[in-house]
Amino acid sequence: MSMEAYALCPRPLAGVSDWQTGLDALGFDLQLRGTAIPPASSGHLPALRRGRASGFECALIPFPELKDTYPETDFAGSWPCVYAFWFGTIAESIGAVMAITACVKLVDGLAFYPEEGRLLTADQAVRYARETVPAAEELERQLGPGPD
C-alpha cells in the first residue's frame, strides 16, 4: 500500500515557502504544513487539501541510488537533487502528485512515476497532474476519503 514517485531536480528547493509558492502558482489547493523540507527533514511531510490531511513521505536520495533501482530508465543526465516520495492513500497520492509537479516546475526538473514508467518534463508533469488529480478526486468520492 505504498507507491512511490520522484522529482529529479537540478537544484534543491529553498524551503517550504518556495515549494508553497510553486503550488500556489499552479493553482493547486495544497498547503504544506511542515516546517522543513528534505534534506533538513525526512519522513512524513504534512499537508492539507480542502481541510483534510494530504501529506506524503518525502526524502532526498542520491541519484546513483535511483539509477541502481531503475537501471533500464534513461534519466536524461545526472541530477544533483532527487526527492523521493512515498504515498498510499488517495489523499496522499493527490498531495504527492501536486507537490512533485510544483517542485519540477519550479526548478525545471523531471517527474518520474515508475508505476507507469513515465519520465515527464515540467510542462508534461503539469498536464499529467491536471488529468490525474481530478480522476483521483473522483476515485476518492467513490471509495471515501480513507483514514485521517
Partner: protein
C-alpha cells in the same frame, strides 16, 4: 418443381436458423473464453497485458511458518481485492488497489495484524498518529501478540509495480518501526491488473521477495 418449392423454402429456413445458432454459439464461446478483439497480443501471438486471478510467479520464504502463512493469507486478500476491482492500470489503478486493500485488511482484522497493523505510522520505534511530521509508515506488520507493545515479527510492503525497495528504504522502514535486521521486510508486487472482469480468468503475477 412447384411441388418441391415448400421443401426448398423450409430447407432454406432451417439452414438460416442453423447458421444463426452457430453464430450465437460462437459468440457464447468467445464470451466464455474471454475473447476481446481489442485485447493486446505479444509478439508471440499470446494475449497479454491483462489479468484476472493472481498467479504467484515467485515466492521467497522466510522459513518462519507463521510469517510465511501470513504472507499466503495476505496474497489471498490481495487476490480477492484484485478480482473485485474495476479493471485498469497505472497510477490510478495502483491507488485504487492500495486503498481497497488497506480497507479490506482493516475490515478483516487478521490475527497478529489487526486494524492497527495496517498502515501504522512510527517515529523511532514509537507508534504515532498518521500524518505526524517526520513519521514513517509501514504497510502491514505482524506482531507477536495482541497489544501494540508486542514485538514486531515481520513487515510487508505491497507494491503495484515491479521494482523492489531500495536498501535505504528498507533501513528507513526498520528504523521507523524500531526493529533490527532479524525482522524480515517482505515485498509483495502486483505486477499486472485486470482487464476483463468476469469474462476471463487470467494472470496477474506476484513476486514476494524477502529483504
Amino acid at each position: 418443381m412447384r411441388a418441391h418449392e415448400p421443401d426448398v423454402i423450409l430447407a432454406y429456413s432451417l439452414a438460416q436458423l442453423r447458421l444463426s445458432l452457430a453464430f450465437v454459439a460462437l459468440e457464447l464461446l468467445d464470451i466464455r473464453a474471454g475473447f476481446r478483439p481489442d485485447q493486446p497480443r505479444g509478439c508471440d501471438g499470446r494475449w497479454c497485458g491483462e489479468g484476472g486471478s493472481l498467479t504467484v510467479v515467485r515466492k521467497d520464504r522466510t522459513g518462519d511458518p507463521r510469517i510465511d502463512a501470513k504472507t499466503d493469507e495476505l496474497l489471498d486478500v490481495l487476490n480477492e481485492v484484485v478480482e473485485s476491482t474495476e479493471p485498469g492500470e497505472g497510477f490510478l489503478y495502483g491507488t485504487r488497489i492500495h486503498a481497497r486493500l488497506a480497507a479490506r485488511l482493516r475490515e478483516l482484522d487478521l490475527p497478529g495484524i489487526g486494524r492497527h497493523g495496517v498502515e501504522q505510522s512510527f517515529v523511532a520505534g514509537d507508534i504515532v498518529r498518521h500524518g505526524l511530521s517526520g513519521s514513517i509508515r509501514t504497510d502491514v506488520l505482524l506482531r507477536d501478540g495482541r497489544t501494540s507493545a508486542a514485538p514486531i515479527r515481520a513487515i510487508w510492503d505491497i507494491k503495484t509495480g515491479e521494482t523492489g525497495l531500495s536498501p535505504r528504504r528498507i533501513r528507513a522502514l526498520r528504523a521507523g518501526a524500531g526493529v533490527d535486521d532479524s525482522v524480515p521486510i517482505i515485498e509483495i508486487h502486483l505486477l499486472r491488473g485486470i482487464s476483463v472482469k468476469g469474462r476471463v480468468s487470467v494472470t496477474v503475477a506476484i513476486g514476494v521477495v524477502v529483504a
